[in-house]
């Protein structure tokens, strides 16, 4: 085991170009590449074009490959004679919706620097993170420093809506994309002093519940008292989903959930979250979760049932005295190994249909889904990553189980047969998916250094 170092010219190049890298990221984040909203289709396309062009300028060779959905950008290091390990770097150029706009201090698609951070939708999730990798490779290529491996960047445009096209894409180009491992920076670190390898991710299953009552909104005076209220029925049904201890009451919901070993709980306990400080940070009087589990365990190793949105009846100014015709709830369940997204969704649907009264009609529309993920921290490649993290950040790294979902890591394992190293650069207060999303410039800088040091380490790990 040797200590990772940054090749001098690469380090110098990265240092000299920091301001330009910031300008690059601002240009990239200016595209409102919101994959969930059809009106942003042209912005999504333009954004793909921008990152492809940028990779070319950095010295890679890029291509925009069309899919049945948004295009996927491939960018490769130049071909050289001889044989070297091949690695993929995955990222996504699409972003979450920015609503509600009025809660942003500065407009979500007009990146602004405040303090040591840049603010914009998607700047952290995920544009800044994969751009840091691209800058590191640029530093190798522009300084004629030899990269010990071949690299291909795979940058997709549908991560925020379920990465439907990436699986088929990996299958189609399975040979071209054959590799030793995949690197993804789309996860978080507790702080700049605690760089992290994320060894587990939660999965997800998304769906929408619609409760239909009368075939039109009804006057609540004329009919009220004799016709069931779909919004109240929806509330009553949702209220039956969890008990007072935070357990989900859907039969079978916890089937197959990987139990935590004592060693897992010990490792997770290394990361302390002060519940009072966390509550203050989030603006709540107290935290709340499934009883019997620590905060880290609740977030990383336990499944959830979350209402993401509620819609019914009149939502404008003042009041409208109606019995609404329908009520909807957008739901996502976070899943852990080894729950199956479709199975969980079907269990919830069956439960809701069973408890629905005869006065309404209940439908469940399936959304996207993805399984949870786990990679062993004892593998040579994980160890290489941990060494690199320590060198780049100057602190001992931690092992994280992250609560978010990157469904694609399972696809990668299934289709390409390799592990994914999750080396995220997001801080806990970066507001991913929230108003005022930001990306810390120190994370950006350390990320580039980490990437630059990672490739020799990772190459060595696979040559042992």
């Amino acid at each position: 085991m040797f200590n990772p170092t940054l090749p001098a010219r690469v380090g110098e190049y990265l240092a000299l170009h920091q301001e330009r890298f910031i300008a690059d990221l601002c240009a990239y984040a200016r595209f409102p590449s919101v994959s969930a909203q059809p009106k942003h289709k042209p912005d999504v396309q333009a954004c793909a074009q921008w990152i492809a062009n940028h990779a070319n300028k950095a010295g890679l060779t890029s291509e925009i490959r069309q899919t049945a959905g948004n295009p996927i950008v491939l960018a490769k290091t130049p071909p050289r004679p001889g044989k070297r390990p091949h690695f993929l770097v995955y990222g996504h150029y699409d972003v979450q919706p920015a609503e509600p706009f009025d809660l942003w201090t500065t407009p979500p698609f007009d990146p602004q620097r405040r303090g040591n951070a840049l603010y914009a939708r998607g700047i952290c999730d995920n544009k800044g993170q994969h751009l840091a990798h691209l800058h590191a490779v640029e530093a190798y290529l522009k300084t004629d420093t030899e990269l010990p491996c071949d690299l291909t960047f795979v940058i997709e445009g549908e991560e925020e809506v379920g990465s439907d096209q990436l699986g088929p894409f990996l299958k189609k180009y399975r040979n071209e994309l054959a590799c030793k491992a995949v690197v993804i920076s789309d996860t978080g670190i507790p702080s700049l002093k605690q760089p992290a390898l994320t060894c587990a991710l939660r999965g997800i299953t998304a769906f929408e519940i619609t409760v239909r009552g009368p075939n039109r909104d009804l006057h609540s005076g004329i009919f009220g008292g004799s016709v069931d209220n779909p919004a109240l029925v929806l509330a009553e049904m949702l209220a039956k989903v969890r008990d007072s201890r935070g357990k989900i009451k859907v039969p079978g919901f916890y089937e197959g959930v990987m139990a935590l070993k004592a060693s897992d709980r010990k490792e997770m306990a290394r990361l302390k979250i002060d519940p009072r400080k966390e509550a203050r940070f989030l603006g709540v009087k107290e935290l709340h979760g499934e009883s019997g589990f620590s905060i880290m365990e609740q977030r990383g190793a336990r499944p959830t049932f979350e209402i993401n949105g509620l819609t019914s009846g009149y939502q404008g100014d003042g009041s409208k005295t109606i019995i609404p015709s329908w009520a909807k709830a957008k739901i996502t369940c976070r899943l852990v190994p080894s729950q199956k997204p479709d199975k969980v969704r079907n269990q919830v649907a069956a439960f809701l249909k069973k408890i629905a009264p005869k006065t309404v009609e209940v439908t469940i529309s399936p959304g996207h889904g993805g399984e949870a993920y786990y990679v062993s921290p004892d593998s040579a490649h994980a160890k290489a990553a941990l060494r690199t993290l320590k060198a780049a950040f100057g602190h001992d790294p931690v092992l994280l189980r992250e609560g978010g979902s990157i469904p694609i890591v399972n696809e990668i394992r299934k289709i390409l047969g390799v592990d994914t190293l999750l080396l995220g650069l997001a801080l806990p207060d970066d507001n991913a998916h929230s108003p005022n999303e930001k990306f810390d410039l120190e994370c950006y800088r350390r990320g580039m250094q980490m990437s630059a040091m990672l490739w020799p380490e990772l190459t060595a790990a696979f040559q042992k």
Copy 2:
């Protein structure tokens, strides 16, 4: 007791001008005079101006009186020497919001005739109904037929948002508006064969519940499982409001509710609603209400708790994986004699605050309120109205307890000290407050005849 008759010239005038009356109503309904929506302020003003002008053309003398809210239009029959009983006719020129627009067959503010009805927002509630009275008076004035009484039309612009200005207005002009009784057509009839005097109205109390959790929308992956979900908490709280028998569980909610006497239940039983037919009409599999009461009783004589709207989190296309920062429910409770709006709202607020978990902050914003109303059908003026109904519609009238609210009838009783005769012209399928609101042209015509015959009858009732 004599049989009401229509003065020949008045009847002839009404018959001759039917088509013009329809055009008048269409012109009136073209104003989107939505009092709940600030953007429609200019339309509300223009609508008040139109009805004032129209009353002048009909031979009355009108004035637009400013208030702290929307103006109130007064229109009086011409002054004459001598003393006659004075009656008021009340109506409102403001309308409910028209949302959701996409459910309208034709645009809500472009009145269209289909079959024997006119379709537009507010055409039935309430523009068509008070316009019918105005046409009847026009017929007297234009044919020089002597009206046995003096009349003042009071047409306000805030009925759909709680009539806040009308109470102060009645107080301010108490002497000018002193009268024997008030006539309002803003209620319903079961059918053209069952004209009705509405002897009871439900009251209302409106409020909005806000459940606040984290100070921003949170990533449901990063934080999910450890932070309570305000939308789920709102659902759980709302689910505790009623039991499986349809009873409201808020302590004290039924305090003071006037019990139904056997005779009341008998009168209400005269009006049969076929539950299967009604369910089919409303598009539900089955009706639902408080157990132990008939449909008519549930609608007319029992209080309710109704969700009018739900709002939380992401409502756009696709999904957004967040824990929403807040969730809201718009609520109205229909009240019966002798519940007090403020008291009931406070009881509900206290209950909700008591059951709210510590993980969220719950606030209740009060909206408008109004007490329930009851008038004795045995009074001379009620009997006069019943006779007139029979003559105008050619059928025995029924006594109704209507589920809707006209808070102003209580204000009238309190301030002017008189009863209000509720002689509505709306059919059960007129879709008041719903898309595709309509007004039946036969109701319009009979309404004019009823009004024309009412004034001699009512005058006689007060001269006995």
